[in-house]
Amino acid sequence: MSDSRKEFVKGLITTNPVFVLLLGLCPALAVSTSIDNALGMTLATFIVLLGANIIIAAIRGFVPSITRIPIFIVIIATLVTVVNLLFNAFLPDLHRTLGIYLPLVVVNCMILGRAEAFASKNPMIRSIADALGMTVGFMIALVMISFVRQLLGTGEMSVFGFSIFTLPVLSEHPLAMFILPPGGFLVLGLLLALLRWRGVLKI
């Protein structure tokens, strides 16, 4: 069991997919304009990553190496299509805001990367632990980025429609740049530098 725990914990900080591996940056920046969107993207990524790791760990014994990557891509694309259809049917608002970035989960290097580097070489339980750890690490990164962007870009903090607090001056004169695309680069760049400077991440 401690083995699985190790695979889970490593995804949080030491091999955090966004901060350390610099994978999945495209969704991490594109949808991090609000915490709601960040959590929605995390849910989509979680379903696909967990499904892919389980299936690939299960079939890894008899997939010849020459067809490995095409088969992984087909499996991941199928899972993404399923998630896309389910979100469209049951979470239409989220489906609309995630837009093109939901189908693009299929090329999130994090998912193919984990399938290829981990699930294809490890047993089921550890692959599940790896998927959970990577998802939580992804969520930590996305929530941190979107917290800063939503706070500075709108001046108020709300999650799933519940307003948590409102900043006095910023809510009237929000710094729209943080919601705009360049703001995503800025927040991620500064967060990375801060985490490295404080020694949370090794350089």
């Binding site: 920046l29 090329v107 695309p181 490295r196």
Partner: protein, 191 residues
């Protein structure tokens, strides 16, 4: 005609695929260290985008829409792009070795480059005509190349700068991207 020009400018500059849509960030942060490889990578991506847009448009209109299975587009498009990249790689390896050594090595990376799949999905969602799809692919590719090349030019200089240790590498590249992105906002008024 004017609509095509708007699409071209919009995809290349205003909605730049890297700076605004955040697609193709892996090569942007990974490859763009020197001018020449960045430019070759950009050309390879532009070429694949054009071919992929043509192929996915035909398949979307004559297979997916006809048989009412549009929702399968993700799996179909990614398989089309993956096989296209293989074929193109084989083809230029056999016919034009100079070209292959210029951008052939980047081709395998392109399969999982979200910029290519992104452009084909945008074309589909916007219901572009075949011509408009090709223009949009060209615009995206040129925008990609432009930003890759500009970024590489900046980073060649940046490597000489004495940045704080925790800022080196990715953070400083991301902050450069911020400034580039802000500069590109200046284009939003031109159409």
């Amino acid at each position: 005609m004017s609509e095509l020009i708007v699409i071209l400018l919009s995809m290349a500059l205003i909605n730049n695929i890297i700076l605004v849509r955040y697609l193709g960030l892996c090569p942007f942060l990974g490859v763009s260290r020197e001018l020449k490889p960045s430019f070759s990578m950009g050309m390879a991506v532009t070429f694949v985008m054009l071919v992929a847009s043509l192929a996915t448009w035909v398949i979307n209109h004559y297979v997916l829409i006809r048989f009412n299975i549009e929702y399968m587009y993700i799996i179909v498009f990614i398989l089309v792009i993956a096989s296209l990249v293989q074929v193109i790689e084989l083809f230029i390896k056999k016919t034009n070795f100079a070209l292959y050594s210029a951008f052939g090595i980047y081709l395998p990376l392109i399969t999982t480059n979200c910029a290519v799949l992104g452009v084909t999905i945008i074309n589909m969602m916007e219901n572009y005509t075949l011509l408009a799809s090709l223009v949009s692919a060209l615009g995206s590719g040129l925008g990609f190349t432009l930003v890759m090349a500009v970024m590489a030019g900046i980073r060649e200089k940046l490597d000489l700068a004495d940045a704080p240790k925790s800022m080196r590498g990715a953070p400083v590249a991301l902050i450069t991207a911020t400034l580039l992105g802000l500069a590109f906002f200046g284009f939003s008024g031109i159409v």
